[in-house]
Amino acid sequence: MKEKNDHERQLREALLKIEGVLSCITGKEGPLAASPKEEPSADEGLPPEQLGCSIKSVPPRLAKLAAETARRVNPVNGPVLGRLAELKAPTDFHPQFLTIVVSKYWGPSPRRLTVSFMEATPADLRARIVSHMNAWAKTTCISFVETTGVGTVRIARGAGGYWSYLGTDITLIPKNRPTMNLQGFTMNTPESEFRRVVRHETGHTLGFPHEHMRKELVSRIDPQKAYLYFLKTQGWDKATVDAQVLTPLNDQSIMGTPADQTSIMCYQLPGSITKDGKPITGGVDINTTDYAFAGKIYPKPLLGLTPEPALADHLELAVDTTDWDEAEDVPDAERDATIEATLLPSHGPTDRYPELAGTALANHA
């Protein structure tokens, strides 16, 4: 009986918290809050405008640590490709600034991106390309659908190699220009190339940069060997080799899993340019880590619940950066323990992806 009462009390507390968040957005009080309270609220007596949702920010001296912590909890919270540096006043931001302004990720809400083709393309080829793009939808909430109009993703098959703009950058490209290029793809192209190239370029569209530019992999490359190799095979000058191969992604832009040379986002590099003589094997298809990580940052809705895409738009972003004494800062170990304690055992990666049980993946998520 006592257990049942405890359970009901916990359930009521949880519902009250949810209702509190909703009332912040809608401005309406819910039925639970209207019922008698067991304890007086600390907010009682304040005027209504001071009861709204305001977001408290950590003191500026802890902003970097807060960002690092947020990124550890969820990689989406990390800024991408250092665009923060382009802004004039990088310290003048509210807590949601990094993910809203800087990130090229599409966000956690389910999305369907339309796809069109720049050249006349046979229907079977169009369907085949889109089906490979949708391989990512196996674990993510992002899917692709062909449109007869102008798509958000616009694919060309002309000269120029394989490339794609990164994540939400595709929305910045003029509608008469492609966002992705798949040079020479036809129905005669081997299936393995559809897996390797179309899925790789679609990964860029989802916001994933090149895995071979992770510093762990870049550090394996001997720069002098690389300069010579690409000069001989491609005619690339030093600056091009630096940009394509030797410049590691900024720590602030990486995706959260350990560097993975079999990721679909990793190119193949020969052993002749590495320090240990072993090649960087490169990925030929989306691997289990890719699938799991993509599913983590673009989560499929669970239990029929759909994240509210416009939630952030409704929040009043009043920022309070009141500082406290530095001696009161939470020690690292305590902070780690707190983060660990928030994990629900029933929502581990192997629960969502049972086929991954027993793999190293559990350490990544």
């Binding site: 120029g160 490339w163 703009y165 966002t179 290029n181 690339w236």
Partner: protein, 102 residues
């Protein structure tokens, strides 16, 4: 007057091209290098596409270079290796003969 010569209209490159001094040849390729006659033909570089944004910044896609520029310097003959396809996986090299004449 020097010309900017586009090759996109051709499905395949011819084996030989005739240019005038000062001409710039635009090839859709990931790389290339002058094999013989570097006093006749100069490789300006391999370039990624880029789009100018209203804010004055340039946006480029993720991917290898897709355009190679070559400039004719003076009359003579040169051969150039043009690298096409995926530079990471299965690059294909085509040899192109170039005659530069006034």
């Amino acid at each position: 007057m020097a010309r900017l010569i586009d090759t996109q209209s051709l499905p395949e490159l011819p084996s030989q091209i005739t240019l005038s001094p000062g001409d710039v040849l635009v090839l859709q390729a990931s790389g290339g290098y002058v094999q013989t006659g570097d006093d006749v033909l100069e490789m300006l570089g391999a370039y990624q596409p880029g789009l100018l944004q209203a804010a004055g910044t340039v946006l480029s896609p993720m991917g290898a270079p897709g355009t190679v520029l070559l400039r004719a310097l003076q009359p003579g003959q040169a051969t150039v290796n043009v690298v096409m396809g995926d530079p990471w996986f299965s690059p294909e090299t085509h040899t192109l003969g170039v005659i530069v004449e006034v």
